[in-house]
Amino acid sequence: MRHLIPFIKKELKAYFYSPIAYIVAGVFLGLIGYFFYSSVQGFSMQAIQLAGSGEEISGFNPTNIIMKGLFRSMGTVFILLTPLITMRLIAEEKRSRTMELLMTSPLSITTIIAGKYIAALIIYVIIILSTLYIPLVIEFYSTVSWPHVFSAYSGLILVGMAMISIGVFCSSVTDKQVIASVLTIGILVLFWFVGGVIGGHTENISKIMRDLSLFSHFENLYSGLFDTRDIVYLISFTAVALFLAHRSLESGRWK
């Protein structure tokens, strides 16, 4: 395990050498910036209309109206961006035969998986936290419910942990980056929309599907509901995916 830090360092370097980190960050921040702009515009229009009517509506505040939608968009956009961060991780080591170097060094498979996972997560967290300018800007002109923001960012980080773990698993089953990324998108889309758009025949099945969905657990957190059940689910989901990635690398040796 003491080899973990140099391993993470190497993975992080790779993100910045091949400009994947910059491209993902650029696309993500550009999109979210645009969404922010248009939702502020929508919010001002509504505010003007409501001011004219003289009614008072509970829940009409910038955190609820502007930020909730933005948090949801951040999660959804990352369904498409996660594979870009993770597809390279293990598939590329296999393709370029550097896996042979890692596996004949005194590194355990756990260290290899953990190092790659943590490096990808660091990139994700940096990108997500750079959207903190949004609540800060709103705070400057209005007021923000910081506990809600904290809950939402915890949700984003937790759901990101789950998404990246799926990406690492998909990268471990193939030596082709494209296959890894398509698999990742497939699994993430399934777990995102199951229980929502993808429903069940009966109420009970729908409920089970909702419980399995990443989105429904993320929804509570970004709506400001900080519930340990959601946190436990997302962490367990991550653990299972990483365990599967470990198994897949280990069993690859025995074939």
Partner: protein, 309 residues
């Protein structure tokens, strides 16, 4: 030092390595010789711990590779056939990373990089991206990576594949130097490579170990069957029946240009009997010579004739 016992590896139905056993003593250079696809790389991958064996075991200093993987891997420097390089890193970074995952820290990393880059002749290219290097330089960087943690055992898979003749000589000399202080296993499908650098050779074909011995002993064992070449002016007069009845003559084959090749076992008296028989038959003996087997012949015989030693 290295002991391989009854090693078998199957991939599905295909048997890549079939029940091979050998040992390598400390400070020895063992050459692994065999045609392409013979099972050399698979054996090496098992010895380095990259692949687990289907049956059998590998021990290094009496430690089983599967039971003590980390201790064993620290002792081994492995260079696969295709050097494992990160193409978006510089040579310096690659070596630094490999040093770090082998547990080197601080100043020792820089010292290790300096000493191996000098040994492998890559001091001038430390700042270049490995992706832009020529095949020869990549091979050297691969060797430097294998050497960086100063391992007791070096395992080199076709270290000179794809190099130009001058580079081949450089790498061979380097391996000879390294062999003075370390235990080395190297594989090759080129014979002179092995005879130049190794004291002992192991010949492998179709996953079977055909022979393990020093080069001298191997040629002695095989050259009991030496060949005698006769050139005749009137071959039709040759008394084949009499010739083949001489004890010690195992086989007679006719080659073009009135050349006959006799495979014989035994000493000079057989040769004397053969020559007098040929002269008496009046076949017009114009030439007689004894052909000793070169290592090339031995290798060909083992590999094509599947002769077990």
């Amino acid at each position: 030092m290295i002991s391989v016992q009854n090693l078998t590896k199957t991939f599905g139905d295909r048997v890549a390595v079939n029940d091979i056993s050998f040992t390598v003593r400390k400070g020895e250079v063992l050459g692994f010789l065999g045609p392409n696809g013979a099972g050399k790389t698979t054996t090496m991958r098992i010895v380095t711990g990259f692949l687990p064996p289907t049956h059998g075991r590998v021990t290094i200093d009496n430690m089983d590779i599967l039971e003590h993987p980390f201790e064993v891997k620290k002792k081994i420097g492995y260079m696969p056939e295709q050097p494992p390089l990160y193409y978006d890193m510089t040579v310096q970074e690659c070596l630094g990373f490999v040093a770090e995952i082998h547990g080197l820290r601080g100043n020792r990393i820089q010292h290790a990089i300096e000493s191996v880059s000098e040994q492998c002749g890559i001091v001038d290219i430390l700042q270049r991206l490995t992706g832009n290097l020529s095949k020869g330089y990549r091979q050297r960087v691969g060797l430097a990576q294998a050497l960086i943690h100063d391992p007791e055992i070096l395992i080199l898979d076709e270290p000179t594949a794809g190099l130009d003749p001058r580079q081949i000589i450089d790498i061979r000399n380097l391996i000879k130097d390294l062999g003075n202080q370390r235990t080395v296993i190297l594989s090759s499908h080129i014979l002179p490579e092995v005879t130049n650098t190794c004291k002992r050779i192991a010949v492998i074909n179709n996953g079977n170990l055909m022979a393990v011995d020093t080069i001298e002993l191997l040629s002695d064992k095989l050259s009991t069957g030496k060949k005698i070449v006769l050139n005749l002016k009137r071959p039709e007069k040759l008394d084949m029946a009499h010739l083949s009845s001489i004890t010690g003559v195992d086989d007679i084959t006719k080659h073009p240009d009135n050349e006959f090749v006799l495979t014989v076992s035994g000493g000079d008296d057989v040769l004397e009997k053969i020559s007098s028989s040929v002269v008496e038959s009046g076949a017009g003996l114009t030439g007689i010579r004894v052909k000793r087997m070169t290592l090339e012949d031995i290798f060909m015989e083992i590999v094509t004739g599947e002769k077990m030693l």
